[in-house]
């Protein structure tokens, strides 16, 4: 699998993504600076977490116009995989590759802690190594992670099985205390209609090694590696 991690001014999870891809799943991965014009010949583009452009105006609103984004959108439209984590998810919504928006957390506080996610759809290129209803302990850190979309969009996301991860309690139930930011339908991650673009607020790249306190994010990268290693799986 060949992968590109896009670095914006203010990205701070780019190395974590690089580490997960190169050291944990053996991908051929490189950084691409946001001023570049081309993502290059890659299978996967990662928009990492952080605070691109200081989150000024709205998180992701300015990064979405970075020169590299045209190439990222073209890659997605060709069916290429694009993974947006945290600020990357916000950018994907701003650029229109995913529906909805991420708003200020309902608590108005920055939340940084481990949460439990339930795998809702294990038939995507991102989740094939999981089983449906698997529970994942993954770290999350954001001030603007409350997923919002109009009722029709939410109904479509539910109906088309595009909600990939949902916030749950430790026992796997959606209920009081399970939702860290007030997201509609407890949404933690969604895919686009074609299934090649995933946006999620929690950080799977921070859960790829026992030393990090969790390995529950590793199957996501292994799934990608397995599903995107076309062309002879070199």
């Amino acid at each position: 699998m060949k992968a590109a991690v896009i670095t914006f001014p203010g990205s701070n999870c780019d190395y974590d993504c690089f580490h997960a891809l190169r050291d944990q799943v053996g991908a051929d991965v490189g950084y691409v600076w946001h001023r570049e014009q081309e993502v290059g010949d890659v299978d996967l583009v990662v928009l990492p977490g952080g605070f691109s452009y200081g989150d000024y105006l709205r998180p992701g609103a300015i990064a979405r116009f970075s020169p590299i984004m045209e190439s990222v959108v073209a890659h997605a439209r060709r069916g290429g995989a694009v993974l947006g984590i945290c600020n990357g998810f916000q950018i994907l919504c701003e650029v229109g590759l995913l529906p909805g928006a991420l708003l200020r957390n309902e608590s108005l506080r920055f939340v940084s802690r481990h949460v439990w996610l339930r795998v809702e759809n294990a038939r995507t290129i991102y989740t094939s190594r999981y089983n449906k209803a698997d529970l994942l302990r993954i770290h999350l850190a954001h001030g603007d992670g409350k997923y919002h979309a109009d009722p029709e969009t939410l109904a479509r996301l539910e109906g088309d099985d595009r909600i990939v991860f949902r916030y749950v309690n430790r026992d796997g139930t959606v209920g009081p205390g399970s939702n860290p930011n007030g997201s509609a339908h407890n949404i933690a991650g969604i895919v686009n209609e074609a299934g090649n673009v995933l946006g999620m607020m929690p950080h799977p790249e921070r859960a790829v090694d026992p030393v990090l306190g969790s390995e529950h994010g590793l199957p996501l990268f292994l799934s990608l590696s397995e599903n995107l290693s076309t062309a002879g799986a070199a």
Binding site: L57, R58, A61, I62, F65, C93, E94, G100, A101, L103, R104, N105, E106, S107, L108, H148, A149, D150, G182
Partner: protein
């Protein structure tokens, strides 16, 4: 061309939960201002814009608002051309 100060008011769309507005409202009630029934918190941007007329300035800033300044999924915006500086036009020639 003249210079205009254009104000863009960005507010959360009606029906959208506005936790910031609610927090301010709550504080006002505690400070004994019971007459306030709702508070909505948004932001104001002030742009110095060069344009041939107030209408043109407004039209351009509307375009900017749609493209970048406001998120149509969650925000509404209003554009006000605040202050027309006519000195350039009065200078003539340029």
């Amino acid at each position: 061309m003249s210079r205009f100060v254009v104000q863009v008011l960005i507010t959360p769309r009606p029906g959208l939960l506005d936790p910031q507005g609610s927090a301010i409202h709550h504080a006002l009630q505690q400070l004994d201002f019971p007459e306030v029934s709702t508070v909505r918190a948004g932001k104001a941007l002030y742009l110095d814009v060069e344009a041939s007329s107030p209408d043109q300035a407004e039209a351009r800033v509307r375009e900017m608002s749609k493209k970048l300044l406001a998120n149509p999924v969650t925000e509404d915006f209003q554009v006000h051309v605040e202050d027309a500086d006519v000195t350039t036009a009065a200078g003539g020639g340029k």
